[in-house]
């Protein structure tokens, strides 16, 4: 048997993420002991109407979320226990709601930092109703082989190591969440394990005391001894001692109390638990508690370290007297399926990656571009062109190359509202379209007639240079196989009205006295084509392309330079229209040539 929590315990969890985590842990335990999940419902108003998916073995169980306890117990009348995971400021209201529901007999509060007055009110209310209010700051309650409430018992491996899949003979009551696991472990290693372990919480005035649980253990024939782990502060241990000493008890009591160190520490020092503070005038000291327990006939080891042997002795005594029999462990136990992440961590599984990347990695505390941490690049003076170099060409470009890219970007950032891309963005902005869609509208205008010739220009100039072609030979090849030479020709600019951007870029690159075979070739092509027709000049696309190919950028990346720099302008146009609160554009009739058939009668449908 067990106390408080057993196979008939059905739970509602009040709260969000922490409650879901607890439900997962409870499901792990249910899976270990081959019982259905004991969590029936959640109460969490923000998500009411939805479900939380709780893994059980390798499957998922959908647990409904309700707005109120009443809704939960109406739909799940077997619910008899509530676990409170609500924040400290709302915990009391939630727990009161649960206590006041006739279905619920046990409320265990995990929330820490609950005001003392709230906890006392809840405790008093529960006692009045004849119910149990456990906590606050409780790690939970676990009955071996039967039921887990909360995260007590730790991770799955620990549940198995501590033999929580089957009942032993020792009850455990602790104030400390961390120590509850330690005691459960000790009971499983030095004796035959536990019946029920309860975390009553480390607050000054928990809703229950040792006595209420000792009384229950006394009436549970399976429990032969109870271990209590106390600490200085309050008088719960003295009350336990008083109860134990009052008459002959069936159960053996083993107790340890912490806080002897306080005798040699500054007065008033506060320890980890809110309740762990020596009272006024020395009452509630570890020594007085320890003495009281000893006097009552409880077994009180001198140190925590001696607790294991004390439990062992007690268990051996039970064995000798025939009170308990040695337990034969099951041959096999369910094993919790690992998640892919866990299996990978344990080197147990290989996953074929879905995609492959070679340029960046954001798994650390900051993104790395081709291996270089972004912050380090910033702090060592690198700039946007270097980031482009790393992400587009996987190399750290030189200062000089960065300067060229910077100039390219600046020269092609915008070219007024009339080009197709800018016009499309403006049109979209005026139609009330959002920034990203409006800019995308502009970007999809980039093509063979607007800014999109960079890649192709680069490809063919490179082809010519790589194949040592003469200009005439190249032009003949292009005419026969490709068509007009990308990068050559401009709608408005011509020899007499040269493109300043091109002049600027060519002038700068030439001034660097670096090798520019593609640019040289492109200029040579212009010499020939411009003679044929004076607007067949090397345009800005062609110039960018030649320069970038000379710098070694992959041909496929070249249009990217135009897309990237022109995006600056497109964003500007969108913001500009927004700022002006521009109205929807509609073409005037007179700007359209209506060449459609004249109005005529629709024939009858045949």
């Amino acid at each position: 048997m067990s106390i408080l929590a057993n196979k008939d315990t059905h739970v509602v969890i009040q709260g969000g993420a922490a409650g879901v985590n607890a439900a997962r842990r409870m499901a792990e335990f249910c899976y270990l002991i081959k019982r259905p999940l004991n969590v029936e419902a959640f109460v969490y108003p923000p998500d009411a109407g939805k479900t939380n998916e709780i893994p059980y073995g390798s499957g998922l169980i959908a647990i409904p979320i309700y707005k109120t306890i009443a809704e939960a117990t109406k739909n799940h009348p077997t619910i008899n226990t509530s676990l409170v995971y609500i924040g400290a400021d709302r915990a009391m209201k939630g727990a009161m709601e649960a206590l006041d529901d006739s279905h619920i007999k046990v409320v265990s509060m995990i929330t820490e930092g609950v005001p003392e007055k709230d906890a006392k009110l809840l405790g008093a209310h529960a006692r009045k109703l004849g119910k149990v209010f456990n906590g606050p700051s409780s790690i939970g309650i676990i009955s071996a082989g039967a039921c887990r409430l909360g995260v007590i018992g730790g991770a799955f491996d620990n549940l198995v190591l501590s033999k929580l899949y089957r009942e032993g003979s020792f009850g455990v009551i602790t104030k400390s969440g961390g120590l509850s696991n330690e005691i459960i472990w000790i009971c499983s290693q030095f004796a035959d394990g536990i019946t029920t372990a309860i975390g009553i919480g480390g607050d000054a005035y928990p809703g229950t005391d040792y006595v209420s649980y000792l009384e229950m253990f006394e009436h549970d024939p399976q429990t032969k001894a109870v271990v209590i782990v106390g600490e200085m502060g309050g008088d719960l241990e003295e009350r336990a001692a008083e109860w134990y000493g009052a008459k002959k008890r069936r159960i053996k009591l083993i107790g340890v109390v912490s806080g002897f160190c306080q005798e040699s520490l500054p007065k008033g020092m506060k320890f980890g638990h809110a309740g762990a503070k020596e009272g006024m005038k020395g009452e509630g000291s570890a020594r007085s508690k320890s003495e009281a327990l000893k006097k009552s006939g409880a077994l009180v080891p001198e140190t925590f370290g001696a607790l294991g042997p004390a439990i062992k002795d007690t268990y051996q005594g039970f064995l000798k007297s025939g009170l308990v029999k040695e337990i034969i462990e099951p041959v096999s136990l369910p094993r919790l399926p690992k998640t892919v992440e866990e299996a990978m961590k344990a080197d147990e599984v290989v996953v074929a990656p879905l995609i492959r990347t070679t340029i960046s990695d954001d798994r650390g505390d900051e993104p790395c571009y081709d291996g270089y941490p972004a912050s380090e690049l910033i702090n060592k003076g690198y700039e946007i062109p270097h980031v482009i170099g790393l992400l587009w060409d996987k190399r750290l470009i030189s200062k000089q190359e960065a300067e060229i890219i910077k100039r390219i970007m600046m020269l092609s950032a915008d070219h007024g509202p009339c080009v197709s891309g800018a016009y499309a963005t403006i049109l979209a902005a005026c139609a009330g379209i959002g920034l990203s869609q409006a800019v995308a509208a502009g970007l999809i205008m980039i093509g063979p007639r607007f800014g999109g010739a960079v890649t192709d220009a680069g490809r063919w100039f490179k082809y010519a240079v790589d194949n040592n072609m003469k200009v005439d030979e190249f032009l003949a090849y292009m005419k026969k196989h490709v068509g007009p030479v990308p990068g050559i020709g401009h709608r408005v600019k011509s020899l007499r009205n040269p493109d300043k951007r091109v002049k600027e870029l060519v002038g700068y690159v030439k001034s660097l006295q670096i090798k520019t075979p593609c640019l040289d070739f492109a200029l040579a092509v212009e010499q020939v084509t411009a003679v044929k027709k004076d607007n067949l000049i090397l345009n800005v696309d062609g110039t960018m392309a030649a320069v970038l190919v000379d710098m070694g950028f992959p041909v496929d990346s070249l249009n990217g330079f135009f897309i990237l720099s022109r995006t600056i302008g497109l964003i500007g146009h969108w913001v500009d229209q927004k700022r002006q609160d521009s109205r929807l554009i509609r073409l005037f009739d007179y700007l359209v040539n209506y060449a459609a058939p004249k109005r005529r009668e629709v024939p009858p449908l045949k």
């Binding site: 006392k120 008093a124 995260v151 008033g268």
Partner: protein
């Protein structure tokens, strides 16, 4: 519990109708001079000046001056502000009106398991301690308020007669109101005195312990809590508190000067057993520390650095039970980083480190600790099969 200094404590009492002397908390002598120009009481009554810090034995240290006039109070303030007492610098002085009186009484309200206890005595000051049997109590269940009749009965039991009994009952009622509404855990006025000018009962001193956990429903608590052990918090303690307030989980750190065994254990419960083990073995604790609730590794790293900075330590105890869900590998990662930093800062010379822990990813965490040996740390690592506090025995064996 959270201790509140006298100034804000009196402020809370005043809020609930308890008469308190005129008082002002100042941070400089100049400020007091300026206040003196606009506050009549400062010119008309004798004054008391006290260092407004969480310090014990202020009288002995000369940090309480009585019977002053305004210029005397200004001089006393000038002398006290900036004075160094142990680890703290006095930054505030509370100047209050001296209330001439004859009789002294006692009144307190304290939290009990069932509810509240109201304590009243017909004697006050240091007399209460030696006449504890004269203190009469009224016990109330939580949620219950005391009736006027019951309070009057209590006052009479304590030996008050005539109109003073009624006044004392009324005073206790206001104390209860303050206690109840302000989420207090302990309120004490010693002494309560009769003001000669109007015969009203007035609180000459205030001990105020509030429930820090209830701060969320008291937006007007615009004061800082004070240390409870007769000294102010050190800079490192305050820094760790700052970290603690920012994170999920917790990190705690209190320095104990003169010790040689530094504590870096996990868990509010286990940490005390570790401290006990040190004391039981004749060791001297250098601090109390604790981390729990799966805190982020950087918070544990800060805590570790503070622990490593404790002067004169010989051993560091990195103890812990079997964690429920604190990730041992991750939190140990924080500790390891802290150790490395401390070592590169020239600390940890001749310091032995003792580790015992269990819980999620315990093997990885313990292996990482063990590997510190190769970096020249004097480290000894044990797993869950070594009983909890045995590392203390090993560390402290002669």
């Amino acid at each position: 519990m959270a201790k509140v200094l006298e100034g804000p404590g009196m402020g809370l009492m005043k809020k609930w109708g308890i008469h308190v002397p005129h008082y002002a908390v100042v941070t400089s002598a100049d400020e007091l001079s300026k206040l003196g120009q606009v506050n009549e009481w400062m010119k008309q009554t004798k004054l008391v000046a006290k260092a407004h810090e969480a310090l014990g034995s202020r009288f002995k240290l000369g940090l309480v001056k009585v019977g002053l006039d305004l210029s005397g109070a200004v001089a006393a303030t000038k002398e006290m502000i900036g004075r160094q007492v142990g680890s703290i610098t006095i930054s505030q002085v509370i100047v209050s009106e001296m209330v001439p009186h004859k009789d002294e009484y006692y009144c307190a309200v304290k939290s009990t398991r069932e509810g509240v206890e109201i304590l009243v005595a017909n004697c006050g000051g240091i007399e209460v301690e030696s006449n504890w049997e004269r203190v009469k109590r009224l016990c109330l269940d939580v949620g219950q308020a005391p009736s006027t009749e019951k309070l009057e009965k209590l006052a009479k039991e304590a030996g008050f007669t005539g109109p003073v009994a009624k006044k004392m009952a009324d005073f206790a009622e206001k104390m209860f109101a303050c206690f109840d509404h302000e989420d207090a855990q302990y309120l004490e006025v010693n002494p309560v005195v009769t003001r000669e000018s109007d015969g009203e009962l007035i609180a000459l001193d205030a001990v105020t312990l509030l429930d820090g956990d209830a701060k969320f429903r008291h937006p007007d608590w615009n004061f800082q809590f004070a240390a409870e052990f007769g000294r102010a918090y050190s800079r490192d303690e305050v820094e760790v508190m700052g970290v603690d307030s920012k994170i999920k989980g917790s990190v705690k750190f209190i320095e104990i000067p003169g010790g040689d065994t530094a504590m870096l254990p996990a868990g509010g419960g286990a940490s005390v057993y570790y401290s006990d083990a040190v004391v039981a073995r004749g060791g001297k604790l250098a601090n109390y520390a604790e981390y729990s609730g799966d805190p982020p590794d950087w918070a544990v790293e800060v805590l570790t650095e503070k622990v490593c900075s404790l002067p004169g330590i010989k051993n560091i105890i990195v103890g812990g039970a079997i964690a429920n869900f604190t990730d041992v590998k991750k939190t140990f990662g924080g500790i390891i980083n802290g150790f490395r930093k401390a070592k590169s800062d020239g600390k940890l010379k001749g310091v032995k480190i003792w580790v015992r822990r269990g819980g999620p990813r315990e093997k990885e965490g313990l292996d990482a600790m063990r590997a510190l040996k190769d970096e020249g740390f004097d480290i000894h690592v044990f797993d869950r099969n070594t009983p909890l506090t045995d590392i203390v025995d090993k560390a402290l064996q002669k």
